[in-house]
């Protein structure tokens, strides 16, 4: 009996350990090691911190890094502002009969590949696109305008892509907010603004934090949207990593960039968890 149980443990633990160590732990250790090595012209590699020094010496690198981080924060804030009314409407305002249907409708676009969604925006917004066609027809424009390939469009695309990961936690957290709290505040004469600040937001904090963490991380690591919708001279940091790996074939430099991105994303997640006093295992659910 006792022996049987240990055998079950071995069968469960072996594939899990193989998975986590061969595909997660060792590759990331390798990433760290590679980032501290350089190769000379003869293919000999030595230890060096110069990959990281390059990052700070070349303004293009750290500027891209800072820009990516700043835009990711902006996208997270915007996503929250757009998503909160949506979640509030579905949980508190709309007739209960339509709640399930609207939630399902909300999820549907996100099952479709990100590439298809970005492509949809491209054929809407580009110079020969659908929106330009209608604006020209309506006489609002004389000449077609290129609406793609700028930062505003890119930020909109990123907000669009990450919307789901903010709306869902907000809906689940607002579901647990007792209506009578809002009713009581209303009866005591509170206006909409103070209800929002004093009741809704404090109650939603766990949902806001988990949504914000996921949105921030996904935006930071996004490649498709900035690449296809952003301008040619405004790089995303993941594009820098791609360039080092695939175009320049400088894997050591690319590893250093990758490690810095990993560090930034872990740091922000850690700060978010500390500020809200939550555990990672709770947030991912």
């Amino acid at each position: 009996m006792k022996k049987g149980i240990r055998w079950a443990f071995v069968i469960f633990v072996t594939p899990v350990l193989l998975w986590l160590f061969l595909l997660i732990v060792l590759p990331h250790i390798d990433l760290l090691i590679m980032s501290f090595r350089i190769e000379d012209d003869f293919g000999n590699s030595t230890w060096s911190a110069s990959n990281y020094l390059n990052f700070f010496k070349e303004p293009i690198y750290w500027l891209t890094f800072a820009r990516t981080a700043a835009y990711s924060i902006l996208v997270t804030v915007l996503t929250f502002i757009v998503a909160l009314p949506v979640a509030f409407f579905i949980t508190k305002v709309v007739d209960v009969r339509y709640k399930g249907f609207l939630t399902m409708l909300l999820l549907l676009p996100f099952w479709v590949s990100e590439l298809v969604r970005v492509y949809g925006w491209m054929i809407l917004l580009r110079e020969s696109g659908v929106i330009n066609h209608f604006l020209l027809k309506a006489g609002l424009l004389r000449q077609p305008v290129e609406m793609l390939y700028n930062d505003v469009t890119m930020v909109m695309g990123l907000v669009y892509t990450s919307m789901l990961f903010m709306v869902i936690p907000l809906i689940s957290v607002l579901d647990s907010l007792d209506d009578s709290l809002i009713e009581a505040a209303y009866d005591l004469g509170a206006n909409m603004w103070s209800i929002l600040i004093k009741i809704i937001i404090p109650h939603s904090m766990p949902g806001i934090v988990s949504g914000a963490i996921v949105v921030f991380m996904l935006t930071l690591g996004n490649y498709l949207t900035p690449n296809l919708m952003g301008g040619k001279n405004s790089l995303w940091f993941t594009e820098q990593i791609y360039n080092q790996f695939i175009a320049s074939f400088n894997w050591n430099q690319g590893s250093a960039f990758g490690f810095l991105l990993l560090l930034l994303s872990s740091l922000v997640i850690w700060i978010g968890l500390k500020l809200s006093g939550q555990k990672l295992s709770k947030v991912v659910k």
Binding site: W7, A8, F9, F12, V13, P15, V16, W19, L20, L22, L23, H28, D30, L31, M34, V82, V86, F89, K92, D95, M104, L106, P109, W111, V112, S113, E114, L115, R117, Y119, G120, S128, V130, H133, F134, Y160, I182, E183, Y186, I195, M217, L218, Y223, L224, L228, T238, I241, Y242, F245, S255, G258, L261, L262, S265, S266, I269, L280, S281, V284, K285
Partner: protein
């Protein structure tokens, strides 16, 4: 404010308008993509030149529909094969992990659990490059020490499968664990008392109970693998998966064939999503 309180007409109307705009924003790109798949034009843009299904069935030199487009068809086949293997791997390993974390006690359980969650918070690009680096390191090691040249360690089909599996397995683990938590363990004890061994119990009782979660997470795993871009980008060899192949075409200009593929993808994924929703509802 909320549905039980008196609301002004302006408040209600304003909120409704916001929701209409939001859903417009959500569905506009998908709708336009679908509609333009049927436009009788060489470019995926307006004006509307009439309805056609040639971008699906056509086989003319200047207009090859998706059903005759060998490159795109082949990439769909590659993606389907990758997704198949990723699903099999993630479901089996994820179910093992669910049993491990829910039913076993051992040292470092907390640490290992944290490690299992970590792929969710590592950007996909980083997972891609680290798996690429490590497989390259292993490949060089094998070549230097035993003069073995192993194809698995070079970018290609199996590396894509492993890279995607590394984070999709976490997802399966979470879904299956959530269901396993609800399992009444007295059923297991009863079976053990009646003389079944642990594996018979798992096979006949626990896995039966887990079946909906396993099928559901398998479907999600398939879809996530089929659509994955970030991790695949660094691991892909000569056989491009569908997202990679579409990306290259979209970047270098586009034809309505891409709309036709997108249309098929949208139909396929929304059917799968609705079916998944239906079965998980029915299950509860």
């Amino acid at each position: 404010m909320i549905r039980t309180l008196p609301n002004s007409g302006a408040y209600k109307a304003g909120f409704r308008l916001y929701m209409v705009l939001y859903f417009g924003f959500l569905f506009a790109p998908l709708l336009v993509t679908c509609i333009l798949a049927f436009n009788d034009s060489q470019f995926p843009s307006l004006p509307w030149k009439g309805f056609t299904i040639e971008w699906f069935t056509g086989n003319l030199p200047e207009r090859v529909g998706i059903f005759h487009d060998t490159i795109n068809l082949y990439s769909i086949w590659v993606s389907a094969r990758v997704a198949f293997f990723v699903t099999i791997l993630s479901v089996s390993v994820g179910t093992c992990a669910a049993f491990l974390f829910e039913q076993e006690d051992f040292r470092f359980k907390q640490g290992l659990y944290f490690l299992m969650l970590s792929p969710l918070v590592v950007p996909g690009v980083i997972l891609g490059i680290s798996v690429l680096l490590f497989s390259n390191t292993l490949g060089m090691f094998f070549e230097d020490h035993w003069a073995l040249d192993i194809g698995l360690f070079r970018p290609g089909f199996w590396l894509v499968v492993l890279g995607q599996f590394s984070f999709i397995a976490t997802l399966v683990t979470l879904v299956v664990s959530a269901r396993l938590k609800k399992f009444d363990r007295s059923l297991e004890e009863a079976a053990l008392n009646l003389g079944a061994n642990r594996f018979e119990v798992i096979w006949h009782i626990t896995l039966k109970f887990l079946r909906p979660a396993i099928i559901g997470s398998g479907a999600v795993a398939f879809l996530m693998s089929f659509e994955n871009f970030n991790t695949t980008l660094f691991l892909v060899g000569s056989e491009a998966t569908l997202p990679i192949n579409l990306y290259l075409q979209v970047r270098d200009g586009s034809t309505p064939v891409i709309n036709a593929i997108s249309f098929l993808l949208i139909i396929f994924t929304s059917t799968a999503a609705l079916a998944n929703l239906y079965f998980s509802k029915k299950d509860r």
